[in-house]
Amino acid sequence: MTVAAPGKPPAAQARDTRTARHPWLTVLATAVRLCLASLVVLLAIIGPLVSPGTPTALVTFAFAKPSGHFPLGSDFLGRDVLARVLNGGWVLLIMAAAATAFGIIVGTAAGVSAAYRRGRADGLIMRTVDVILAFPQLVFALLLVSVIGPKLWLIVLAVGLSHAPQVARVIRSATLDITERDFVKVVELQRMRPSKVMAREILPNLISPLMVEAGLRLTYSIVIMSGLSFLGFGQQPPAANWGLMINENRIGLELNPWAVIVPAALIALLTIGTNTFTDAVARVTLGVDRLPEEAVLTDDLGLGRTT
């Protein structure tokens, strides 16, 4: 084993050697990952503009095999799969992005104020976090959908809210570290208002964990949103939606598999792209080989509970 350089625990140093070997290779790999995700995003955005027909028009018989007219065949009602694929992504993406933004904003606000104010506010916020964390994310969304119905704004709100506690935990732990630093102490001695300290001094230092969190939450949002659509609780028929398409057309898998394979592959490419890109960001900015939430969980075991 090499002699541990001062400044890093041995494990962190061991991990660094791997990424340090080919820096340009890492950059290239990251670019490929980003391209993967952005290609799908691009397809979803410009899809409606280049779509050969309307996604809801009945054009041929059900589950027609791919042909010259319809390169991807037709779906269970005889609609053009290509048109539906091109039109079926943008709502999913907007909803996932909105839920991510909502979750990050609420979670960051909760995490920073819990860590900075400590005391009763901390206890209250973290207990609320515990309650929301007691629901699996998908189940939490289903619970709200079950009553109000599959409204899109509700799904965005529910998924965003279910992200918030996880973001809050990560951000709280990061903030705890920052509040001990000198530059925070200095402005506190200058009697800067707490809200200003949080916004001006602490928030800018949370950029790297926030970037990683945003990437993670975006990936999970896409997974949950497409899952809800797949279950039939997202966009309602006859709307075109990748998740919904997979469920609608899987009975005809033997007849025209492309009606299922293409939307499934697009969702897969999208989540793989966002996740691997997030992973690269995490390696660079946090220098860790594992997801931040895992690190926090193994970290505060039996110690982080402030009671």
């Binding site: 001062p6 400044g7 007691a134 189940v139 080989d289 594992r290 895992e294 509970r305």
Partner: protein, 371 residues
């Protein structure tokens, strides 16, 4: 050995934080661990320690109390969300077929004609006395409806958890031992790619490959009627289990690999090597137990994930479990069933969380002394 390591870290950590700028989790962890080791250093005489409550027992008791409290609040949230939030649940259930007579009957069945507190109390006390009520969809007793589904889902979760944990730990350990080999690279890239895949995409891929388009080896959907047990036709379990295993293994693999590499590069393994301990013994007796300890928490997390993951997978494969029951109940707005299943899943979540923490604590000796 540990004390030696811990003594080195505080200084290392100070230097690290000065030049590293923004927060790093590794530094944070090092700081806390060193704090623990330092706090534990002035050991109390054994007699004094025995007089105190056992730290683990105390922790378990505290977590249990917090868990019960959390569940109570969860029950209020579930109740409020389903019964009170939309104004009138009876109207929501009946939808277009609502007429005054049916509305009135349903309001009485759901106790909507009483006050909120009384409604909640009737529901909560019903949970404990076994008077769970009946399903709105078919009038069947709730317990008769949910019990076989619970058993089926439990089988699915535990078979998956067992296979997934063993596979993840084994693959992670091998990848760490052969670090930077082709095996390590292939498995690491594959794990990273699969980590993010939605369950239903994996399920559909398996169905395409094994059950429909490419090969017809296994049944694509289970034709088990609700109310029967899954083990009567084990073949039907294969695809749901395989899907969930594929989804959970990457997490366990990644954690195990990282922990194993950390253990293999540690001072105590170095020490054992210098002493001339045979390599297989170093791996099995020194590195493996130390790497499994942090992995247990991730395994626990994956059991937690399974509580939500079964919903989609059971729906895909038409597997008569609690997740499929929840989807059906949401489709039919069967409020008593939704309330009960969500509460069961939340209870599983809370209990598993405590169990995981305790096991991880037991597996990490140096944390037993610290609180």
């Amino acid at each position: 050995m540990r004390a030696n390591l811990a003594g080195k870290w505080p200084t290392a950590e100070r230097g690290h934080r000065r030049d590293a700028g923004p927060h790093t989790i590794t530094a944070d962890r090092a700081r806390r661990e060193s704090a623990v080791a330092v706090a534990a250093a002035p050991a109390k005489p054994p007699a004094a320690r025995r007089l105190e409550a056992h730290p683990i027992a105390e922790l378990v008791a505290r977590r249990l109390a917090a868990g019960v409290l959390t569940l109570l609040v969860v029950s209020v949230v579930v109740f409020l969300a389903t019964q009170v939030l939309p104004g009138n649940a009876a109207y929501a259930v009946l939808g277009r077929s609502a007429n005054p007579v049916r509305l009135h009957a349903l309001e009485r069945q759901l106790h909507l004609d009483r006050g909120i507190f009384e409604q909640y109390w009737l529901w909560l006390s019903g949970l404990f006395t076994g008077r769970l009520g009946t399903s709105l969809a078919n009038g069947q007793s709730l317990w008769a409806l949910v019990q076989p589904r619970l058993v089926n889902s439990a089988v699915l979760v535990f078979v998956t958890g067992l296979i997934g944990s063993v596979a993840g730990v084994a693959l992670g350990a091998v990848a760490a031992l052969r670090k930077d080999s082709w095996f390590d690279h292939v498995t690491s890239v594959a794990a990273l790619a699969v980590t993010a895949l939605p369950e239903f995409v994996v399920a559909i891929a398996l169905i395409i490959l094994l059950a429909t388009v490419v090969a017809h080896l296994l049944p694509a959907v289970s034709l088990l009627p609700p109310g029967t047990y899954a083990w009567s036709q084990p073949k039907l379990l294969i695809l749901p289990v395989a899907t969930l295993v594929i989804v959970i293994v990457p997490y366990i693999f990644r954690m195990m690999r990282a922990a194993m590499i950390e253990a293999l590069e540690s001072d105590y393994v170095e020490m054992a090597r210098l002493k001339g301990v045979p390599e297989w013994q170093i791996v099995l007796a020194h590195a493996l137990p130390n790497a499994i300890a942090p992995t247990i928490q991730v395994i626990g997390l994956n059991f937690l994930y399974l509580a939500g993951g079964v919903v989609v997978v059971e729906f895909v494969f038409n597997f008569p479990g609690i997740g499929q029951g929840l989807v059906f109940a949401v489709q039919n707005r069967d409020i008593p069933v939704i309330q009960f299943i969500v509460l069961v899943l939340a209870a599983f979540y809370v209990v598993m969380n405590i169990v995981t923490d305790v096991i991880a604590l037991l597996a990490t000796p140096r944390r037993r002394i610290a609180r």
